[in-house]
Amino acid sequence: MKKSIIGFLLCILFCAFFLPLFTLAQEVQKQQVEIPQQEEHEKIIPSPQDIKESTGIFVFIGWIWLVIFILIYILRLKIKEVDRLYQIKYFSSKED
């Protein structure tokens, strides 16, 4: 008797918890089927759309190269300095 009551309660629990999930899954599936197919595009060649965008690109490239040249200038100075320190054995004398 007890076993049948437990079985009955388990069935109710199963229905209460899992059936809504099945229904939800079915709804999601339905929604996915209903999503309209996106239109197929032709060949895409990325390029600036207007004068503002193309100016922006040129400015961006200009900035990149300006920063690169400044950094190279600083690095060249740093190289001169570290080479000089190496020649006078600055770091090896520091270790001693």
Binding site: H41, K43, P46, L71, L75, I79, D83, Y86, F91, E95
Partner: protein
């Protein structure tokens, strides 16, 4: 408290926990020879630079890319048209791959010509050749991901080539495609290779390669070593690294300029049922092999021309891999002949590529 004190305090805190100064000392003691062939030393770190750019831009692209038959092409189109700066990210990813492959070829050829693979650096060379194959694998798998007509047809041709290998050929083709033909399964499989298997392989191989370079140091040119000349050396840190930084900056500038002015286009989604379009070509780094396969006659005596071509390519790969063991006496006549083969290979690859383009 000034910023200087703050930085100094932070450094002391970090130093107490990580002993960073020992790494700095190690890098200071590591030296790099300076001679007329030193320029080739910069190619190794340039490859690492482009690999890092690949990883960063790859992470950005993978947020939006969808590796399914229905969505792959559309998601790339979305990256290029709807995601802010998406087209630049994709372009930088593509161009840095081209630059990386080009520099990997230059790096290996420079080692071949200067014979830097000689004893005890045989394993360094072999790990480098593996890295070349993994890099080409990245290029091959990445080419299919936009899923347009050209990439589909080129992948069909590319995955069909191993079929000519005796005994295992058919199995290799089936394994690469995930079936008998190139389908959505191939796309998913290639995506898995591109973002999971190959990255793990490349990190392991890079670790081995860098460890071996650290262990054996930079190689000297053969004539200098034979003459036992005293060569000027500079510390790796910071003297050599600063010089490398200049090269990196120039390369990054060139990469961005090319990526912005010559972005890759995207064709409409591939149709599995459509006939192959005209002018199917792989990426430029496979063109010389593609042309070699094309010029072979259909049959030589009773053997298929494709089989002979594929066997020749495999023999070439084996020769390339075991080069340090074959060229075990680099100063002798055999060594000189092998150096000439390097130049012949360069001329052959360039000529075949140009022929294929026309």
């Amino acid at each position: 408290m000034t910023i200087k004190d703050l930085v100094s305090g932070w450094r002391t805190w970090l130093e107490a926990r990580s002993d960073l100064s020992s790494i700095e000392q190690f890098l200071r003691k590591k030296t790099v020879p300076q001679h007329k062939h030193s320029i080739w030393y910069y190619t190794g770190s340039a490859i690492l630079l482009f690999f890092t750019i690949q990883v960063i831009t790859g992470f950005m692209l993978v947020f939006y890319y969808k590796p399914t038959l229905e969505e792959a092409n559309q998601s790339v189109a979305q990256i290029m048209t709807e995601i802010p700066l998406g087209w630049i990210i994709r372009s930088v990813h593509t161009w840095s791959a081209f630059f990386m492959i080009a520099i990997v070829f230059i790096h290996l050829l420079s080692i071949w010509i200067t014979k830097a693979y000689r004893k005890p650096r045989e394993l360094t060379w072999m790990s480098g050749v593996f890295l070349l194959f993994v890099t080409l694998g990245f290029g091959f798998t990445g080419y299919l991901l936009p899923w347009d007509d050209l990439s589909l047809s080129a992948t069909k041709v590319g995955t069909d080539i191993p079929r000519s290998i005796p005994v295992v050929g058919a199995w290799v083709t089936k394994f690469l495609r995930g079936g008998d033909d190139v389908t959505g399964d191939t796309l998913t499989r290639f995506f898995g290779f591109h973002v999971c298997i190959l990255p793990v392989l490349i990190f392991v191989l890079l670790a081995v390669h860098v460890y071996l370079i650290q262990k054996h140091g930079m190689s000297l040119p053969l004539p200098v070593e034979l003459r036992k000349e005293k060569v000027k050396e500079i510390p790796f840190w910071p003297n050599f690294v600063y010089r490398e930084m200049i090269v990196w900056l120039i390369l990054v500038g060139v990469l961005f300029t090319v990526a912005i002015f010559l972005p890759p286009s995207l064709d409409k989604a591939a149709d599995l049922m459509a006939p192959a379009p005209e002018g199917i070509k792989p990426e430029w780094y496979f063109l010389f092999l593609f042309q070699l396969l094309k010029i072979f006659p259909a049959h030589v005596l009773f053997i298929s021309g494709d089989t002979i071509a594929v066997i020749l390519i495999l023999l070439g790969v084996i020769f390339f891999f075991f080069l340090p063991l074959i060229d075990n006496k680099p100063a002798r006549v055999k060594g000189k002949v092998i150096a000439v083969i390097a130049y012949v290979f360069i001329v052959f690859a360039v000529a075949m590529t140009v022929w294929s383009l026309h």
